[in-house]
């Protein structure tokens, strides 16, 4: 069964208010084509989930699409620096920052993928994050009585992952660093894949390298060449600094809309 569809149609399956997992890490293989389309469709109330996010979170905050962000770290890293739109949106109270340690996002996704309500974690013994957030709570080891902290499961309604290769059934291969994308696909109710290249139905059957994400977890496949740009896609292209700077220099939503339209 082919799940291939145009980008706009795939993004229309994400409702306002969805708990949305995003693949990649900072400026590495962020699903930017999908994110730009979500901004063009003027989604509202999205609740984003990512270990370490950057441009995709910043752009969706700029476009007014976001209600909350569950993440350990939000920045473009050193060279391109802070996510100013995210930062302002949190400071204005428009977006709620649910700060995690990156590991507690991973643990919350693991809990969801294991079908259990929470995951105990070490660390966090002396952190104001525990008292400040209702997704952390102390938990007692029933066998030894030791106190750990529990993190509540995060089961995204949907996640969007950009891959180098996919077939039309939804089998997808990530080349180079996979970050937390494989886990994200297991933890989410469904996965949308955008891919640099669509391969034939026999490709993975005949290849010694198998897909990371199996078709039965995937509900849409979108052909999206340069679909991570202006972030990098390992083995294919690096960061497009010029385009990224152009985005960072946008000052208002009219300019953002024009920038998004030019890339449609």
């Amino acid at each position: 069964m082919t799940k291939r569809m145009p980008l706009a149609q795939a993004m229309q399956t994400i409702p306002d208010g969805a708990l949305l997992g995003l693949g990649g890490n900072t400026l590495n293989r962020a699903p930017m084509a999908a994110v730009l389309e979500l901004a063009r469709q003027k989604k509202r109330g999205l609740r984003l989930v990512k270990t370490a996010g950057g441009m995709e979170v910043d752009l969706l905050c700029f476009a007014g699409c976001v209600q909350s962000v569950d993440a350990g770290f939000i920045s473009y890293e050193t060279e391109y620096s802070l996510c100013q739109h995210y930062r302002k949106a949190v400071q204005n109270g428009e977006v709620v920052a649910h700060e995690h340690a990156c590991y507690t996002v991973i643990s919350a996704l693991r809990a969801a993928s294991y079908g259990i309500p929470f995951m105990p974690v070490r660390g966090l013994q002396v952190s104001d994050l525990v008292a400040a957030n209702d997704y952390f709570a102390p938990v007692t080891d029933p066998f030894t009585g030791e106190t750990l902290n529990a993190v509540k499961a995060i089961r995204p309604d949907v996640c969007v992952i950009h891959a180098q290769l996919a077939d039309e059934q939804g089998n997808a291969l990530i080349e180079g660093p996979k970050y937390d994308d494989v886990l994200l696909s297991r933890a989410s109710k469904t996965t949308l894949v955008t891919a640099e290249r669509i391969v034939g139905p026999e490709y993975f059957a005949n290849s010694p390298v198998k897909a990371d994400i199996p078709h039965f977890l995937v509900s849409a496949v979108v052909y999206a060449p340069r679909g991570a740009a202006p972030s990098a896609c390992h083995g294919l292209y690096g960061v497009n600094g010029e385009d990224l700077r152009a985005f960072l220099n946008l000052t208002d939503n009219a300019a953002l809309d024009a920038w998004l339209k030019r890339r449609a």
Partner: protein, 238 residues
């Protein structure tokens, strides 16, 4: 002219012992270069761990936009990604984690979360990344910060992202170490003075002996240029 980035990279590298398992994350060019330098000099058996999961990458071609990209996996010997590095730390197997923050107190507390109130912050910071779980579980958490001023080294923190096993903090002016739970000056870099450190630290500074950080050796500087010809270690100072 001794550049602060070179002094800091060398100072951080010297804190790595041969055989240590060592992790650095995103926005971490200085510690990434420090790990590579340690492996190229006194600690060839240190194990380089990172977010994309490249174990001991061989002469990676460092990129400016990230310290967590595919350059660290392309020439690696094995794949051991972030999730597993955290697991390693949780079970007591991570020797060193390099982390940073925006505020530090004199007990080794770290704030990387907010200035002001958590819910309605005056400044929303990027967040502590792995700090809240790594600082308490890694055997040694080594911090670096390229700013050294009274706002960074503060009497009290707006928010405690993490506390735990901080052992050292390296800045452009000096190296601090934790001694009996208190941050003390271990050595002042040759480009600074103890008075300058005191003037730029928001709590009274103390030390056991007044030492100068040994400047980078010729061999260390040669290795630095070899590892990092694009000078990514200087990114935070540009």
């Amino acid at each position: 002219m001794l550049r602060p980035c070179d002094m800091m990279a060398v100072c951080m590298a010297r804190l790595i012992h041969d055989g240590d398992t060592v992790f650095h994350g995103v926005s971490s060019h200085l510690p990434m270069v420090a790990v590579l330098l340690a492996k190229a000099t006194h600690a060839p058996n240190a194990v380089h761990l990172n977010i994309p999961g490249g174990v001991d990458p061989h002469r990676p071609r460092l990129q400016t936009f990230t310290s967590a990209g595919g350059e660290l996996t392309d020439t690696a010997e094995a794949i051991f990604p972030l999730q597993e590095v955290f697991d390693l730390s949780m079970r007591g197997g991570l020797d060193v984690a390099f982390l940073s923050g925006v505020q530090f107190d004199n007990r080794g507390g770290v704030n990387a979360s907010v200035i002001g109130d958590y819910r309605k912050p005056k400044v929303r910071l990027p967040g502590g990344a792995g700090s809240a779980v790594l600082i308490p579980t890694a055997k040694r958490a080594i911090l670096w910060r390229t700013k050294h001023d009274k706002r960074t080294f503060a009497e009290t923190l707006d928010f405690v992202t993490a506390r735990g096993h901080v052992t050292d903090i390296v800045t452009p002016l000096c190296a601090f170490t934790l001694y009996k739970g208190e941050l003390i000056v271990k050595s002042v870099h040759p480009t600074s003075t103890i008075d300058e450190v005191a003037e730029n630290t928001g709590f009274p500074i103390r030390y056991l002996t007044l030492a100068t950080t040994p400047p980078p050796t010729e061999a260390e500087l040669r290795a630095l240029n070899d590892i990092d010809p694009g000078d990514t270690r200087n990114l935070e100072f540009r």
